[in-house]
Amino acid sequence: MSGKRFEPSIVAFTCNWCSYGGADLAGISRIQYPPNSKVIRLMCSGRVDPLMTLEAFKNGADGVIISGCHIGDCHYSTGNYRTEVRFMALRSAMDVIGLNPERLRLLWASASEGQQWADTMREMAEQVRELGPSPLKGGSKK
């Protein structure tokens, strides 16, 4: 690592209505956070197939965030209920395969919660940095 700080790669899935808007609001409000996360915009967090999360880890993501509307506020009424179920299942699966479940996070953020968005991006970057590179990352063993 030659003393250089480990910069984790974080993939963030957001729904179009609440969380993408929340991320936009953080920008409009100029709330600063570390540049480790990259957003994949979908219509609903319910679109996030568990395979997509695994695809991210498989390709070397150190952390994944799934973000959607608060329960009860889903633009599609109930899509995010499914998101929550899948999130729980994914975390236990990660545990089984030896991937720390803390690398996956669920964030309910509305379009008015720019601050929460920025806070979570910061926390996640710090947390994943502490966990170190993902064990699935090719060639990361140094």
Partner: protein
């Protein structure tokens, strides 16, 4: 997917310095050029400008581009702009992807420029992976219904509705209150010109009412919304007013007689209104409304559903005979149950959760007593219009109640009673000091007065004998008149009594010899009755032995207290295990101590014997009162019974195993309360009537009653008041006689007690209004209606609510009478208000000589998450100050404000005018307000921030300029419509600058103060803007919907139907090869695609094969871009 090789153009926007100030745009464009399939890349100053778009179009032609990526700002605003740009260049608009370099990079990573640029490169690389796999999509065209639903009929909603209707669109205007007009209708003058609010609003209100293309739905609420833009289906609940609005002529007669008062929210609680009301005289429509919330807890919990709130309300009004009629509508026993009822109503009384429950039982006893004292009206014999004879067996409470109701229905009823007098356990079980015999006799004779024949001393042998005598139906109410045995050794000894035998003997006038020491076994009412009777018969020590503790005793608590006053000892947590006798005569009881274990099936803690804790109590007599049983008389032969030997009946119809034979009361339930027996009689009467008429016995039963939930009972303005105490005769005077112990409430006490009633249901169904309504407009049996509306667009204009500081008692509001809100002052200056426009202090009704306004109460306040300006408070206080000055020029007026904000035209003039009139403006928020005892004036403690001076001036009236808040149902409405609310709970617009009246959902528009605080001109402008938005959507008659929806590959599908379970819109239909997604219903969330175990479902524009490479790129590239 298109087959041609992708040729991608990447356009990196500087957005002036918004992006370029942080991200090296040139470097991003250069990097993009190195990526596979990118045919062209460039950085532009403003991609969205005409020049920028022209550049993109030219590049498409010049470089033969078939995919475009713009790396600029958020796609949530500019995606449509660039899609159109592609279309104009002849490219399918869905071959486009946007990278958000501004909101997601340059604005959030300002201090890390190098890393920001790196992130920008990676986002572009991700987008390229996605873009090369995009496919052209065709938009679907839907027909638009040229009708709009406007929800909320304040000034914004009215303005929107009028513009739409004038433009030729059918418009529904839905308002949840009984009148349209919203908050503006409650205002007096409106700033800055100070013109009269209702004078300018009234005409447009009535225009709405008359407009041929506006359908007004007042007093209605949105239930559900289905469908999509262009074709929404709304289900609207038209709440019933219990008054036909077309017949009501607004004459106010009903309001005059209505006995129920409740704080008037339209006067901001300065005065009360009636349960039947009209918000204000100019209301549109002008019909009255009865405010009825359901069934209050007291009436709901009463087994006989006696309308407790109804008679309490009339007692308050001293209309005693009408009140008594209400009791007698339900039960024949106002006086009897007024004495012996266990009053389950009081246990559920809402007042009980506040201070002490209302003394409901004593109130209806009062009514019966009052009638006895003042002479009862003669009972009118009811005309028997039915021929079918009904037999009731047993003249106890169940039998009498059943006969009473049947007689009222016009049936000839004969009651057969085996004993020599009627009344059942009321007569033979309950002692006279609790229930004087004449009270019982009189109430039974009233029932006879209706035409019921009661034959005493006539036991009935068999049901067949009744049938033979021509009785069409039979009600069996023979009770449970035998005491249960304890089952303990020595129970047959001389000196051991069983409670019912003992009480029966006493109540029959037979002499009973008791020794000096008497023990009672049991904790119910029969036990306590026996104990108190024993005391009266001369027993020196009377001990009540009960196996649980006092709180578990089933007897009425006040009875236990009175028993103790009379000298009865309680021996708790003990139970007899044997009676010791010598020569067959009782000598002592052997008892064991108990402790309490886990709760049993009855919910009470189970008593458990403590080993080796036996002890003996020397007694002369024991009275066992541990329960009652049904006696197996001949008439019950052949009927099915339960394991407890009670009759087995249908729980709803009370029919026994024999058709036409019904049963109720203790013979069915085992020993319970009098009121439950009465309730059973009432239910049986309903069944018998249905049986005779040949109607289905159980259809629509039990009746579903809507209990008024506790949360709906407003207790915020209630004051603590003690429950009336029932006067009793001195305990010493009671011992040797059976005179009634409780002497009844005095008139004054009863009225005061009735005033404690919270009127939980508001309308108490006393029906006085029906009698006075000349056009017969009132109908209490009306129910809510549901209507379905098909519309193309929806406008929400649901407004705000003024902050009520009573929750926080801020600045003493709610505690100090002369601290009011600006909304309340508005009512005081209003000629239509409670003081007819005279400004009067609430404490003494005098015009205040000095007034302080306190600004920003609940506004700009971080502590309560309301750190926004209310927008109207400064102007409003300035306006109100000038109004007071106009009427009372000598009034001293100060405004305490952090700042005075008078934005825009006209408002500065108002400020100057107030200053010129002598209004003093003090910069500084008061720290505290103290009430001066006596005068009830208010000392306002503050610091003048300009001078640093500490102020402590006294004012006669303080006015709080309180915040504006989102309406309570805003969140709920947002959920129904799938739109968003913002940080403070107001509805959220699609873009704060460019789309201020659009929601995120196509076809749903927002107007007025549901978006945030605004003044009237702004609310009207928003209303008109929303109407314009809705019109431009509806005018073409067609709307293009996003082609983003799910598709099913039926060759992969195995019909597991999981997609159907998950779809929030039920957009999936068919099976096997026929299974498909209905694109016009699918909203494109993709939940089904993510769930399909066969991976048979994919989302257009968000296909797995488009997303997976993008995800892989996002995960992979970080840090890999150097060189």
């Amino acid at each position: 997917m298109s087959t041609e090789e992708p040729r991608i153009g990447v356009f990196v926007c500087h957005c002036g310095l918004n992006i370029a100030g942080v991200v090296e745009c040139k470097k991003v464009a250069d990097f993009a050029a190195t990526l596979p399939d990118v045919a062209y890349s460039v950085d532009l100053l403003f991609a969205c400008s005409d020049d920028g778009q022209e550049h993109i179009k030219e590049a498409i032609h010049e470089h033969n581009l078939n995919r475009v990526i713009v790396a600029s700002c958020t796609p949530r605003t500019h995606e449509p702009v660039f899609r159109q740009c592609l279309e104009e260049a002849g490219l399918n608009p869905y071959l486009y992807d946007q990278v958000n370099l501004r909101e997601h990079v340059s604005w959030v990573h300002m201090d890390e420029k190098e890393k920001a640029t790196q992130k920008a490169l990676e986002l572009v690389a991700m987008s390229v992976e996605r873009a090369k796999r995009l496919e052209p999509l065709e938009r679907q065209i839907v027909d638009v219904i040229p009708k709009c639903a406007v929800i909320g009929a304040g000034v914004a909603g009215i303005s929107a509705a009028l513009d739409l209707a004038d433009a030729g669109f059918e418009t529904y205007l839905i308002e949840k209150r009984p009148t349209i007009g919203g908050q503006m209708a409650l205002l007096d003058k409106v700033f800055p010109q100070n013109d009269c609010a209702i004078c300018i609003l009234g005409p447009i209100m009535s225009r709405v009412g008359r407009h041929p293309r506006i359908t007004l739905l007042p007093y209605s609420e949105l239930e559900t919304v289905n469908g999509h833009v262009g074709n929404f289906r709304l289900t609207v609940r038209k709440k019933t007013r219990y008054i036909h609005p077309d017949i009501c002529n607004g004459c106010t007669d009903c309001e005059q007689v209505c006995p129920v008062s409740t704080p008037n929210s339209y006067e901001f609680w300065l005065t009360d209104r009636k349960a039947v009301y009209r918000p204000f005289p100019q209301a549109v429509p002008s019909s009255y409304t009865i405010d009825k919330k359901g069934i209050p807890a007291c009436r709901f919990s009463c087994p006989a559903h006696v309308n407790c709130q109804g008679f309490s309300t009339l007692i308050k009004e001293k209309r005693f005979s009408e009140a008594l009629d209400i009791v007698r509508n339900a039960i024949p026993f106002a006086g009897v149950l007024g004495r012996v009822c266990t009053s389950p109503c009081e246990a559920k009384c809402e007042r009980g959760a506040f201070d002490e429950s209302l003394s409901i039982r004593n109130l209806h006893r009062f009514l019966a007593d009052y009638e006895r004292e003042h002479g009862a009206t003669k009972v009118e014999k009811i005309k028997k219009d039915k021929k079918e004879k009904i037999a009731v067996v047993g003249a106890g409470p169940a039998g009498i109640a059943c006969a009473y109701d049947l007689a009222k229905l016009g049936y000839p009823v004969t009651v057969f009673e085996a004993r020599e007098e009627s009344g059942g356990l009321l007569r033979w079980g309950i002692p006279e000091y609790r229930l004087p015999r004449d009270v019982l006799r009189e109430e039974i004779s009233r029932v006879e007065g209706l035409g019921v024949k009661i034959l005493t001393g006539k036991p009935v042998k068999s049901i067949a004998s009744l049938r033979n005598r021509g009785f069409k139906a039979v009600f069996l109410a023979t009770g449970a008149p035998v005491s249960t045995k304890l089952g303990v050794e020595g129970e047959d000894a001389k000196g051991v009594f069983h409670a019912l035998d003992f009480l029966n003997q006493v109540n029959s006038g037979e002499s009973v010899d008791l020794g000096k020491k008497v023990a009672i076994i049991g904790g119910g009412n029969a036990a306590v009755d026996s104990a108190r009777v024993a005391k009266r018969l001369g027993a020196r020590t009377v001990t009540l032995i009960y196996r649980r503790s006092r709180v578990e005793m089933p007897a009425i608590p006040s009875e236990i207290e009175e028993a103790e006053k009379e000298g009865v000892n309680l021996m708790l947590l003990a139970t007899p295990i044997g009676f010791i006798m010598s020569d067959g005569v009782l000598e002592s009881i052997r008892c064991i101590k108990m402790r309490l274990g886990e709760p049993d099936a009855s919910g009470r803690r189970r008593p458990i014997p403590i080993p080796e804790s036996e002890f003996e109590v020397r007694v002369d007599n024991v009275i066992i009162a541990v329960g009652q049983m049904v006696s197996p008389t001949s008439i019950l032969k052949g009927l099915e019974v339960t394991q407890w030997d009670t009759l087995s009946v249908d729980p709803i119809t009370l029919q026994t195993s024999l058709k036409g034979v019904f049963a109720g009361g203790d013979v069915v339930s085992g020993p319970t309360t009098v009121v439950e027996a009465v309730a059973a009689g009432i239910e049986a009467a309903k069944s018998i009537d249905r049986y005779v008429r040949g109607v289905d016995l159980s259809e629509g039963r039990p009746e579903i009653l809507r209990l008024v939930p506790s949360a709906e009972v407003d207790k915020t303005r209630a004051e603590i008041a003690e429950r009336a105490v029932m006067p009793t005769i001195n305990a010493k005077l009671r011992k040797s006689n059976f005179a009634e112990v409780e002497t009844g409430l005095a008139l004054k006490t009863a009225v005061a007690e009735a005033e404690r009633c919270f009127n939980c249901a508001l309308c108490s169904e006393c029906n006085l209004c029906i009698e006075v309504c000349k056009p017969n407009a009132i109908d209490h049996s009306l129910v809510d209606e549901f209507v379905e509306l098909d519309v193309g667009t929806i406008i929400l204009a649901t407004g705000f609510k003024p902050y009520d500081p009573s929750e926080t008692r801020e600045f003493g509001y709610g505690a100090f009478k002369n601290v009011i809100t600006n909304a309340q002052l508005e009512r005081l200056t209003n000629a239509a208000g409670p003081t007819h426009g005279k400004v009067k202090r609430p404490s003494d009704g005098m015009p205040p000589k000095s007034v302080a306004f306190v600004q920003c109460v609940g506004s700009r306040d971080r502590r309560v998450n309301q750190d926004y300006c209310c927008y109207t408070g400064c102007e409003n206080s300035l306006k109100q100050a000038t109004q007071i000055k106009e009427k009372y020029p000598n009034t001293e007026i100060s405004i305490f404000a952090m700042d005075i904000r008078t934005h825009g035209l006209g408002y500065e003039g108002l400020y100057r005018r107030a200053r010129e009139m002598g209004v003093i403006i003090i910069k500084g928020r008061p720290s505290e307000i103290e009430e001066i005892p006596g005068t009830r004036s208010l000392k306002v403690l503050a610091e003048d921030l300009y001078t640093g001076e500490r102020l402590g001036t006294t004012y006669e009236l303080v006015v709080l300029a309180s915040a504006l808040l989102p309406n309570d149902d805003t969140k709920d409405l947002a959920r129904k419509l799938n739109i968003s609310t913002g940080e403070y709970g107001y509805l959220m617009e699609a873009h704060p600058k460019l789309r201020p009246v659009d929601s995120f959902r196509d076809g749903v528009f927002l107007a007025g103060a549901c978006l945030g605080p605004m003044d009237i001109p702004k609310a009207v402008a928003y209303g008109k803007a929303a109407a314009a938005g809705a019109q431009s959507l509806m005018a073409p008659g067609k709307f293009q919907v996003e082609p983003i929806y799910a598709e099913i590959d039926t060759t992969l599908c195995n019909d597991c139907d999981l997609c159907n379970d998950l779809c929030p819109y039920s957009a999936i239909t068919g099976e096997g090869d026929e299974r498909k997604v209905m694109y016009e219903i699918c909203q494109g969330c993709g939940t089904c695609a993510a769930a399909c175990p066969q991976m048979a479902i994919d989302m257009r524009h968000y296909r797995s094969e488009q997303l997976m490479p993008q995800i892989a790129a996002a995960a992979r590239i970080h840090g890999g871009m150097k060189k």
